[in-house]
């Protein structure tokens, strides 16, 4: 039994519980891929029967950051690039919470890239959704870390000289234990992948292709898409790091050549989550730290008891 009564209620949860009662209509542009993430996340949370009071959704800044405004749960709309450290700590303070971090490709692979690398490396037991639309949308179309080489904008007047980052490969190299790519135009696959990510014990990274109909008109709407697990053209073992790495590389290349590959890319069920690692060496309490503050019978140590070393 948790100290917090919303946790582990064990009741059926309806996806509509995640729709805010007031102003349920997001402000994203018509046709925006972000609607797809919202829909898939609501469906996934209902599929695993998590209720709004036991979910903490931490978002960054940009169109994607507004996800927490349109998803009815505990939310933390943080600052640009910093959703991961906020989310990690909340999970450490209360591992019973279902913690999801989300942000855009600039947020996660650019300004917050350091946190992405280290959160994956440490294998925190959280889900990280990156809305990848290959552009900075809210600031009007500048090249983002995933924009194709040659992308023109007011700040790249001669076209982007930089090659895009490789999000899946980066996640794998850094240590993520679940890596997938899905697309807003494929809501069923997205919801299934989100369910897997939520149920995975470790850092689950989802590169979520979300078309930007306003600032990335050149880009395809990510259709047609191919699910690498369903296609006969691809055959690899998602638990084999080398095969996964090769498939990721091919997928990243293919996107810029017009082929949208999606699916599960890597899964390591054997790697312990950071929470498990810390608990094993006595660095994480057995019961959630946050609960201790609400337990009237809790005993609190005091510094007076450590004075021997100062005598």
């Amino acid at each position: 039994m948790s100290t917090f009564s919303a946790i582990g209620e064990q009741r059926e949860v309806d996806r509509n519980e995640f729709t805010p009662g007031i102003e349920p209509q997001p402000t994203w542009c018509p046709g925006c891929g972000d609607f797809g993430v919202l829909k898939a996340l609501k469906g996934a949370m209902a599929d695993v029967d998590r209720n709004p009071d036991e979910v903490l959704l931490v978002t960054g800044i940009g169109c994607s950051g507004k996800l927490s405004s349109y998803f009815n749960s505990y939310g933390f709309h943080s600052i640009h690039g910093r959703s991961l450290p906020v989310a990690r700590a909340a999970k450490l303070a209360n591992p019973e919470l279902e913690v999801v971090a989300a942000g855009g490709d600039g947020d996660g692979y650019g300004i917050g890239g350091n946190h992405f690398m280290h959160s994956a490396r440490e294998n925190h037991d959280i889900v990280y959704i990156v809305f990848n639309n290959e552009v900075f949308g809210l600031t009007k179309g500048q090249a983002s870390p995933t924009s194709p080489k040659g992308h023109k904008s007011k700040t790249q007047p001669k076209g982007n000289a930089k090659d895009p980052v490789r999000p899946l490969s980066m996640a794998l190299a850094a240590g993520a234990s679940y890596v997938a790519r899905t697309a807003a135009v494929n809501p069923n696959q997205a919801q299934e992948i989100l369910v897997e990510a939520i149920e995975h014990d470790g850092f689950a990274h989802i590169d979520f292709l979300t078309q930007c109909p306003t600032w990335n008109k050149d880009a395809r709407q990510y259709v047609p898409y191919v699910d690498v697990q369903d296609s006969e053209d691809y055959d690899f073992d998602v638990t084999d790091r080398r095969e996964a790495a090769e498939m990721m590389h091919e997928t990243e290349e293919a996107l810029y050549e017009g082929t949208v590959l999606t699916g599960r890319y890597y899964r390591d069920e054997n790697r312990k989550s950071y929470q498990q690692e810390k608990r094993a060496i006595g660095e994480l309490p057995e019961t959630p730290l946050a609960g201790r503050y609400f337990d009237e019978g809790a005993e609190w140590e005091r510094s007076y008891d450590f004075l021997d070393r100062h005598r």
């Binding site: 009564s5 009662g21 903490l56 600052i79 450290p85 350091n114 503050y293 005091r302 005598r311």
Partner: protein, 630 residues
């Protein structure tokens, strides 16, 4: 200046164990009944380079490092560089002697390791010894250590020689060595200690007068640094989460917390950078833990944006800022008080935070406890600013000082029962940021509590936390957040000010200072009053919200006040003047920013110059600003 006190300086190379040797010797002095105070000086270097620790011990309370010192133990530097001619850094091998002579008092005592230090290399050594009546005892400490143990044990030989020359009992030193070591290492060290003691006692004729002072404590004492004060204050307030990134001098607090937290059910996280560190503390606090983070100047700069996030989301948070000499990397291991403006104003928008500056290790404890109480009662970031000097400054404090109740309260946080009765919007979303409050504080829920969900947002938001740019809402939310500072000011005034006053009420000259210079100023005030002046000091602990009424009252009573601070631009003076308007013209700065803290005589000279109306500057290393006549 009398020699009823010992100021022992142990000098050597970084990495040669000067710190641990001095720590044990300090404890021995404390256990013998003396009051102690330590000051450490070290380079930003792992191995080698001029380093020393000074221990002041007397039969009466000691509040500063004092002026100069009277006993030098000069050890070798194992890792000294062997420079080419005319190198910038000079001959490092002799620095344990050559760098320390300027501050040695008349009639002072020198022990040096003749096994490692060649006095022929030290310029005018014999002339200076004679001119200052120094008493020099060369001893082959290295040889002694090698003979009975290992070379690194020469520190122990030095301590034995020190004890002999001071006619100090070895019992307490041996006791402490037995606590810290065992087996062969202990046996060898004990032999070296005794051999050295006996050699000095038997072979040298003592020409100096200095002997160990005698003292007695009414109750048991413990040796505590400013960093311990902060860490222990946090623990006693129920803080069980810390996130950080190593940076001198903040690392001390981070280390103490990281070593203790696993034993008491807490969580410590060393993370990728300081942006993450502050964001983690916010995340943990949001989820219901009492959490802290901290850094020094450069790392704290990275915390600017998370700090603003804590302000607008009203997430309780305590940050500590251990100032070192800036700008940029500055002088990493040297103290300065140049980050007041940084800490008060960093981050975009109107700042909304509390800032406290404790003045000694015991105050570090008290002030940190208060910082946590305010942060959680008012849902506001509270910053404890201190510096490299206070961080590593050890003093004795009665053990009973720490014998008090812990306070794990989450302040203005609702229980689930309270939450059920709290206001929600018609759709069931908890009204986390209500307009109508008594003191500006709208109670919060934490994730996992039933019917408590809300959005915490760095965007301006409405009562349920949803992003809102409505002008009326904006003004209401901004005013409510700012109202918290007025409420905190009232609370602080009613519950007793954290400021420290020193000197007679009817003084006609004032000194204002803050933080680590408090004790030095108090010692200067004592001397000025003994010298016939009427001087009183105010050490400002509450930098924000500033105790304007107290400062005005203080200034009303004096003709003029000298603001003593370790920076080049008079940041405390500027901060006070910005708030005071009238009255501010009574303030003059006494500044020091050469990497060393003030010594009491420098403050005495500064005040005397002002009192005589002289336009002179006190010393090459301190500055009066604006200068007389400006």
């Amino acid at each position: 200046m009398t020699d009823d006190e010992l100021i022992w300086r142990i000098a050597g190379g970084s990495g040669d164990g000067v710190d641990s040797t001095s720590q044990n010797f300090t404890k021995a002095l404390m256990r013998s009944g003396l009051d102690v105070f330590t000051h450490r000086h070290y380079p930003s270097r792992i191995r080698g380079g001029h380093t020393y620790v000074e221990i002041r011990a007397a039969d009466h309370p000691v509040k500063s490092r004092g002026d100069g010192y009277n006993f030098l133990l000069a050890l070798g530097d194992s890792f000294a560089r062997n420079p080419q001619d005319e190198a910038y850094y000079g001959v490092e091998e002799i620095k344990p002697l050559s760098e320390n002579l300027d501050d040695l008092r008349e009639g002072g005592v020198i022990i040096y390791d003749e096994g490692l230090l060649d006095i022929e290399e030290v310029e005018d050594f014999d002339e200076r010894v004679e001119a200052h009546d120094w008493h020099v005892y060369p001893l082959d400490l290295r040889g002694l250590a090698k003979e009975h143990g290992r070379e690194v044990m020469r520190n122990t030989a030095g301590v034995g020689a020190t004890a002999a020359l001071l006619e100090m009992d070895l019992d307490r030193i041996e006791e402490l060595m037995e606590d810290a070591m065992s087996g062969e290492v202990l046996e060898q060290n004990l032999t070296i200690l005794r051999e050295s003691y006996e050699t000095v006692t038997e072979e040298y004729e003592f020409t100096h007068d200095l002997r160990i002072p005698e003292g007695e404590h009414d109750e048991e004492q413990v040796l505590i640094s400013g960093s311990h004060g902060i860490a222990y204050g946090a623990i006693d307030e129920g803080c069980r989460f810390i996130a950080g990134y190593p940076m001198t001098p903040w690392t001390d607090v981070f280390t103490i917390m990281s070593q203790n937290l696993p034993e008491i059910g807490g969580i410590h996280e060393q993370v990728e950078d300081e942006i993450a560190a502050a964001a983690l503390a916010i995340g943990a606090s949001h989820a219901g833990a009492k959490a802290m983070s901290g850094s020094s100047g450069g790392g704290f700069a990275l915390m600017s944006e998370p700090l603003g996030l804590a302000e607008i989301t009203e997430t309780p948070l305590v940050l500590v800022e251990a100032t070192r000499a800036g700008p940029s990397t500055g002088m990493p291991t040297k103290p300065e008080q140049g980050d007041i403006e940084h800490v008060l104003f960093t981050s975009q928008g109107d700042s909304n935070r509390v800032v406290f500056a404790p003045g000694d290790p015991a105050e570090c404890y008290e002030v940190t406890r208060r910082a946590f109480q305010i942060a959680w009662d008012y849902q506001i970031p509270t910053i404890v600013v201190y510096d490299q000097k206070l961080s590593g400054e050890y003093r004795n404090v009665p053990a009973s000082f720490f014998d008090r109740e812990p306070n794990p309260s989450l302040g203005a946080t609702l229980t689930e029962e309270e939450l059920a009765d709290a206001p929600h919007d018609p759709t069931g979303t908890f009204s986390r940021y209500r307009y109508d409050t008594e003191n500006g504080v709208s109670p919060r829920s934490v994730p996992g509590q039933k019917d408590g969900h809300f959005l915490a947002s760095g965007n301006e938001h409405n009562e349920q936390g949803h992003i809102s740019e409505d002008p009326t809402n904006r003004v209401l939310q901004m005013d409510r957040r700012q109202q918290k500072l007025a409420s905190i000011r009232t609370d602080l005034d009613e519950e007793g000010s954290l400021q420290t006053y020193y000197g007679p009420d009817d003084a006609d000259y004032g000194i204002i200072t803050f933080g680590s210079q408090q004790g030095t100023v108090e010692e200067a005030v004592e001397r000025l009053n003994e010298g016939g002046q009427a001087v009183r000091a105010l050490s400002v602990t509450e930098l924000e919200p500033l105790p304007e009424t107290e400062i005005v009252e203080f200034l009303d009573g004096v003709d003029e006040a000298l603001v003593v601070e370790m920076n080049a631009t008079g940041q405390l003076r500027g901060h006070i003047q910005r708030h005071l308007g009238t009255g501010g013209e009574k303030l003059t700065s006494l500044l020091k920013y050469n990497g060393n803290p003030f010594e009491p005589h420098e403050i005495v000279e500064g005040v005397e110059l002002r009192l005589t109306g002289s336009a002179d500057q006190p010393t090459a290393q301190t500055r009066i600003e604006p200068a007389a006549g400006d």
